[in-house]
Amino acid sequence: MKAQRISKIERATPVTIIVNGQEIQAHAGESIAAALLAAGQRQISQNNKSSAARGYFCGMGMCFECVATVDGIPNVRTCITEVAPGCIVDTSS
């Protein structure tokens, strides 16, 4: 696993989110992209035209490379959207 939560830093309440059917541990206040990275998932979307793997890039909601379907809503920018307990994230389409 490449990305990691820095151990010294206090974190808010743990929450569980569901990514492509799998449970992932996150913390309240984290962005979905942060939770995905910490869980070892670097590919978040695929390019519409070439299907090439894309992931976290600008980190500020500008490049739209980290979009996923969240609770049925498509094209949600995961880098600026916080996790909610039990939210369902689909990065497969």
């Binding site: 490449k2 990305a3 990691q4 939560r5 820095i6 010294k8 830093i9 206090e10 974190r11 808010a12 913390h27 309240a28 206040g29 984290e30 962005s31 942060a34 990275l37 910490a38 670097r42 590919q43 978040i44 390019n47 035209k49 070439s50 090439a52 793997a53 894309r54 992931g55 976290y56 890039f57 600008c58 980190g59 500020m60 909601g61 500008m62 490049c63 739209f64 490379e65 979009v67 969240v70 609770d71 049925g72 809503i73 094209n75 949600v76 880098c79 600026i80 959207t81 916080e82 909610a84 939210c87």
Partner: protein, 486 residues
Amino acid sequence: MPQKPDTTEIAIVGAGPAGVAAAVTAARAGASVTVLDEYARPGGQYYKQPAHADGGPTYPNSLASNIEQGRELLEGLSHPGIDLQCNTLVWNISADELVLDLCGPAGARALQAQCIILCAGATERVMPFPGWTLPGVIMAGASQLMLKAHGILPGKRFLLAGTGPLLQITAIQLLEAGAQIAALVELRSRTEFLRSAASLWRYRDKLGQGFANLQKLLQARVPIKFGHTIARALGENEVSGAVIMRVDGDGRPIPGSETTLKVDTICLNYGFTPATELPRIAGCEQYFDQDYATYATSTNDNLETSITGILAAGETRGMGGAEVAVIEGQLAGSVAAQQLGFSPPIDQNELFDKRLQARAVAATLGKMFQLKPGLCALVTDDVPVCRCEEVSAGEVRTAIRNGVVQLNQLKPWTRAGMGSCQGRICGDILRQIVASETGLPLQDIQPFTARAPVKPVPLEVVGGPVADTGTLTWEDHVGGYGVART
């Protein structure tokens, strides 16, 4: 659909250093201020706060002080005269009536102000190379955001590449957080670097900071490769390595100088370009900033744009950094309050002086760390330049050979700039490529025309409720609008 717009005295777009400083100054002068920001929390990128409250003190040194500075500034937002509206995108501006169109938790609506201050910030500048779209290639600022907001190291073994001071600062923050740094690749040669440092002699504290940063990196045995560039990211579905190359004085990679590094994350930064979409939609005059080789919003010394009632502060007004942004925010807040008849308790002359000095430093830094045209050689014909629409450099060059010299002509020809990011990533890159292919000065290549909505919003927000699609509701858990469809 058209409802009567809400009203406010001063509307401020952006809650970064400039916007917050402007809001606090204007509110303390007695004005009613509405601050609008696209993100869930104020601070912008530079003063991004930890996602969990009070996480600051446990952060490594360099991050903790940045977070603490930001917290102090942001405390000012608790002033009763300030209405802070987060998760609110300003997607259009009308100069005639000073109306902003908003999309946020309170619905799609309009806000009319007596005065508008635009503090929209900036975008990181990058140059493409083979493999730059792989997951694991990120902007340097994006790695800082992961650290600051979430306390997450976005990788294990890093390469930092580009030019300028942000790379060094990011490297230090990553190191303190426990990262391994395979190399820091700086476009400028050691000689150029030292020579340009000499141009900072007047600003001894900046120079001192710069050398202290370099020293920290050398002590940590981070290999600093002057006069080098990233040439290729390696990997199938994510980064597993990188190739770096030496460059000549123009930034052109020297064949045969390739070195391969094993890294999992590549952080890029070649400086920044100002976010100017809203001022351009409003019709505010732009100027070409020679020091940063980019267009920015013109203002007079009072930070008033060419449109009456609209001011601009911070990066939107021209790249300058957080220090400039705070000073200009204070000045713009004070000028706006004065226009409305309040007497700001602040010495404007002192601000004018501070601003000139801070701008002079920023101009020197801009000149020191410009992009070099030879980097376009890395953008080989097979490299996608527009990441959204996957338009290759080859397609762009074919269009240029057929006579296209402006970005607005490239758009219908190639689809470059027509994706979700609306040209925010590729616009500056395309200008570099057109300049290198045609020999035209960058100044003669206009940016894409800015159009509303400045970022994608649901169709219903732009056109009002669409029949048979259900009701538009704010989806709190995803921080965006959704239409309940059955």
